[in-house]
């Protein structure tokens, strides 16, 4: 009964979505406010039914209803409760339902937090989002029904893929999807603006916090996925340039370009077409990612069950959504005027160059991901591009982008003379060079790679502080305020930028130092053996069998000492999942600010010895710390007062639809 209810709720949601896609849009064209007013209740109603469907599916999983095919294939009565719940989105069907749920969450959020927007804008935005929702609901109902029954019911389920039985897996997909799908808001704003012909600074101001929020979610989602790969796959790597990882990284890169481009459109009214195109591209890449993952066009470690029918459906949907938006763009773009003029040395130019570099980076990733496909389609057969392509090409584009990151925020809008800021940058540059020489030597060995990484990281961080110092000095001379008052006076948007850029610096430190100084030892160990890595002694004390809820495991006890002093004891496990007949490696990690100690069990050998992997990973947690700082910066920027203050200000102006442009903040 419950699964049928869920199925029915999905159908109702589809019907509501159809109405929501049509009526408000027509209303906006005809200027009929009653028709337009339908958008908000329709969006909220649709959310209620999608949430109901999701709850029904989750219920089927939690209550072990093995008469549902999806549950029987992806769960098991021995599976712990939290993973039974997470298994709701562990399958292809379930993850699509999660996608739709996230879309509806964003849609409802737009319907609630859009009181300051003109009616026809809201109507168009929600109509565009409903169209996307229709596509995915149809996809669910016709090719991937999560509620399909299995008759007769299975006695027990086939269990969730052991790789997914992990706390990271419980939160990683929702976060990632929040980001992916969140870009649909920026997309809908762009399409609505194109339809309405209202492509101006106000539009940019409205879509900016939404875009930044989605970007922050995506950042966290990617970081969680990378962290999951680090400790679950048991290889100690954190990024593999796998097609599925790339699928989430491309929208991130273009989304990063988008949030910067939106800044120019908001502050200076420039780059309008570029911004619109980026908004369309970002969401298109999210859809493309979904296509790549779901259609089986590319093989990957993440490969889910693939079905060519599904591939054709998503491809058709992709063609329709992206094709139609690009056609709309080609039709409307010639009528959009240019923004303000700017000089060669100005913040606009810095941002433009950074944008181009970010888009080029995304293009490289796209090319690397799809190259095997191109190669095959053109008749040259199958091929895997692999790591070397990405590791060589990616830094070529990103290094100049990071160098520019230090300079850009110090330049002024429209016209810029480096002048006083150049003087401060000299300090930052000097510090960076000193860091590049000293840090690698301190870490125990100079290499060009490490020096370059540290140079970039110190440069970005120091330029950030130089920028802050400059802003405070400027405020003090102009207002006579004290330093602490000046600090408080700085807008959150500015703080957000500083924190996010600092995150980039922290991230680079992590990547560089791990790459430069990690110690990886795969050794054969008998109980009692000791191995040394990175100055730590790892002693295999013993092994014992352990019984888990749905697996049998061998747990090793490894004591770690340094200079005869005990540091910690680690318990890596080799688990064997009985239902799926699949072994899994559960690494044991002692995390720290300056290093991770990572131990995992390889294969047992004939005489009771084991292959043990002992890794010393300096500063590896800085990689994820940096990503979280970036996301935090985004969130701080979203809470900027001007979005709230502007709300009051605009409400009075919306009637005559002029363009309020607040000058002077970050």
């Amino acid at each position: 009964m419950i699964p049928e209810l869920g199925h029915f709720a999905l159908i109702v949601a589809l019907c509501i979505a159809c109405v929501q896609a049509l009526v408000p849009l027509l209303g906006a064209q005809r200027g009929d406010s009653n028709w337009m007013a339908l958008a908000r209740p329709a969006a909220q109603g649709q959310f209620v039914f999608v949430a109901m469907a999701f709850t029904c599916l989750a219920w089927s999983f939690v209550s072990n209803d093995f008469s549902v095919l999806n549950v029987a294939s992806n769960s098991n009565s021995m599976l712990p409760l939290r993973y039974r719940f997470a298994a709701t989105w562990g399958s292809h069907e379930g993850s699509l339902l999660l996608w739709v749920l996230m879309l509806n969450l964003w849609m409802t959020a737009v319907s609630v937090f859009s009181r300051r927007l003109p009616g026809e804008m809201v109507a168009r935005i929600l109509a565009v989002m409903a169209m996307i929702s229709i596509g995915f609901l149809l996809f669910l109902l016709f090719t991937s029904n999560p509620f399909e029954r299995l008759l007769p019911p299975a006695a027990d389920g086939r269990d969730l893929n052991p790789l997914l039985q992990d706390p990271g897996m419980v939160i990683h997909p929702p976060m990632l999807y929040m980001g992916y799908v969140g870009f649909s808001v920026a997309f809908a704003f762009a399409i609505a603006a194109l339809i309405g012909g209202r492509l101006d600074a106000t539009w940019a101001r409205w879509s900016r916090p939404w875009t930044t929020m989605a970007w922050a979610f995506l950042t966290v989602g990617i970081a969680l996925g990378s962290g999951w790969a680090y400790y679950v796959l048991g290889w100690g790597g954190w990024w593999f340039w796998d097609p599925v990882e790339n699928a989430s990284f491309m929208p991130w890169l273009v989304g990063t370009a988008l949030i910067h481009s939106l800044a120019v459109t908001e502050k200076r009214g420039g780059f309008k077409l570029w911004t619109v195109l980026l908004a369309i591209s970002t969401f298109s890449l999210s859809l493309l990612g979904t296509f790549l993952v779901r259609s089986g066009v590319l093989t990957s470690v993440h490969a889910f069950a693939t079905d060519p029918r599904r591939g054709i459906f998503i491809l058709a949907f992709l063609a329709l959504v992206i094709g139609a938006s690009l056609l709309l763009f080609a039709w409307r773009a010639p009528k959009v005027g240019l923004g303000g003029l700017f000089a060669l040395v100005s913040r606009e130019v810095a941002l433009l160059v950074n944008n181009v570099l970010l888009v080029a980076a995304a293009a490289l990733v796209l090319l690397g991901t799809l190259f095997p496909l191109f190669h095959e389609v053109l008749g040259y057969g199958k091929l895997s591009v692999g790591l070397p392509w990405f590791e060589i090409t990616f830094p070529v584009v990103m290094v100049p982008a990071v160098l520019l990151m230090g300079i850009g925020p110090l330049l002024r809008w429209k016209e810029g003379k480096l002048g006083a800021s150049a003087l401060r940058l000299k300090w930052a540059g000097g510090l960076a060079i000193v860091g590049a020489v000293v840090v690698p030597v301190m870490m125990g060995g100079w290499s060009i790679l490490v020096a370059m990484g540290i140079l970039l990281a110190v440069w970005v961080a120091a330029a950030g502080f130089a920028n802050l110092a400059g802003r405070i000095a400027q405020l003090r001379t102009s207002t006579g305020a004290s330093a602490s008052a000046a600090l408080r006076h700085l807008p959150r948007g500015y703080w957000g930028m500083l924190v996010a850029h600092l995150g980039v610096a922290v991230f680079i430190v992590g990547v560089t130092l791990v790459r430069g100084y990690e110690v990886e030892k795969d050794v054969r160990m008998n109980p009692g053996d000791t191995v040394t890595a990175g100055g730590y002694q790892f002693r295999l004390e013993g092994l014992k069998p352990v019984q888990g809820p749905n697996y049998d495991a061998t747990r090793a006890v490894v004591s770690v000492t340094r200079n005869q002093r005990s540091v910690t004891t680690l318990y890596p496990e080799k688990r064997f999942f009985t239902v799926q007949q699949m072994p899994m490696t559960e690494a044991a990690i002692d995390s720290g600010l300056t290093r991770d100690l990572y131990v995992s069990l390889g294969e047992p050998l004939a005489d009771g010895a084991w292959i043990v992997r002992v890794y010393y990973k300096p500063f590896v947690d800085w990689i994820w710390g940096g990503a979280f700082l970036m996301a935090l910066g985004g969130i701080i920027a979203v809470t900027d007062r001007r979005y709230r203050a502007a709300r009051r200000y605009e409400r009075s102006l919306v009637a005559d639809a002029t363009i309020p442009v607040a000058q002077g903040t970050g």
Partner: protein
């Protein structure tokens, strides 16, 4: 005419779409190989576990064997690996590994970590033998008969299905002849 440049994104997208469309209709696993039915190209390569010793194609004459091209950097190899490990435990047919464009230490560590299904692995660090065999990408698997003729080539991971439906029946047939 100037406004035509705004059509550029759309045109690029259409090209991409066509690739995806054709890609979807291709079977990613099957590509006819000109080498099937021809004698396996000769080689003499250093063994992965002991570079001092070598192994040549002619040493393997007189038995049916599989040649599996793999690398520690290859993601898809992880996918087929459990299938190969399972196969090696059954002992039906020897599997020889061609470690393609890889580093010895990384390859050895990979085997220690994931299990070693190979009777022996040979190192082909610069991929020269791979070129002789027409390796498109990693992984690939060849079925070679008693007289040293390539009978089948699998491009991409060996799945349980491919193994039980294509490779093992062929191996049995060749072993019987």
């Amino acid at each position: 005419m100037k406004s035509l440049r705004f059509l550029l994104p759309l045109l690029l997208f259409i090209v991409l779409l066509m690739f995806l469309w054709v890609g979807l209709s291709l079977n990613p696993r099957e590509v006819p190989s000109p080498l099937v039915g021809k004698p396996a190209p000769p080689f003499q390569l250093a063994r992965l576990d002991d570079p001092a010793k070598t192994l040549a194609e002619k040493d393997l004459r007189g038995q049916v064997w599989l040649l599996n091209v793999w690398a520690s950097w290859c993601v898809s190899c992880m996918e087929e690996h459990p299938v190969l490990v399972q196969l090696s435990k059954q002992g039906v047919v020897p599997v020889y590994g061609l470690n393609y464009k890889d580093q010895r230490a990384a390859a050895q560590a990979w085997l220690d970590r994931n299990g070693d299904p190979y009777t022996l692995s040979m190192a082909d660090p610069d991929g020269k033998v791979g070129i002789e065999y027409g390796v498109y990408g990693v992984p690939e698997t060849y079925v070679i008969d008693k007289t040293g003729v390539i009978r089948y080539k699998q491009i991409g991971p060996v799945t349980q299905k491919v193994l039980s439906e294509r490779i093992l029946p062929l191996v049995r047939q060749l072993q019987a002849s």
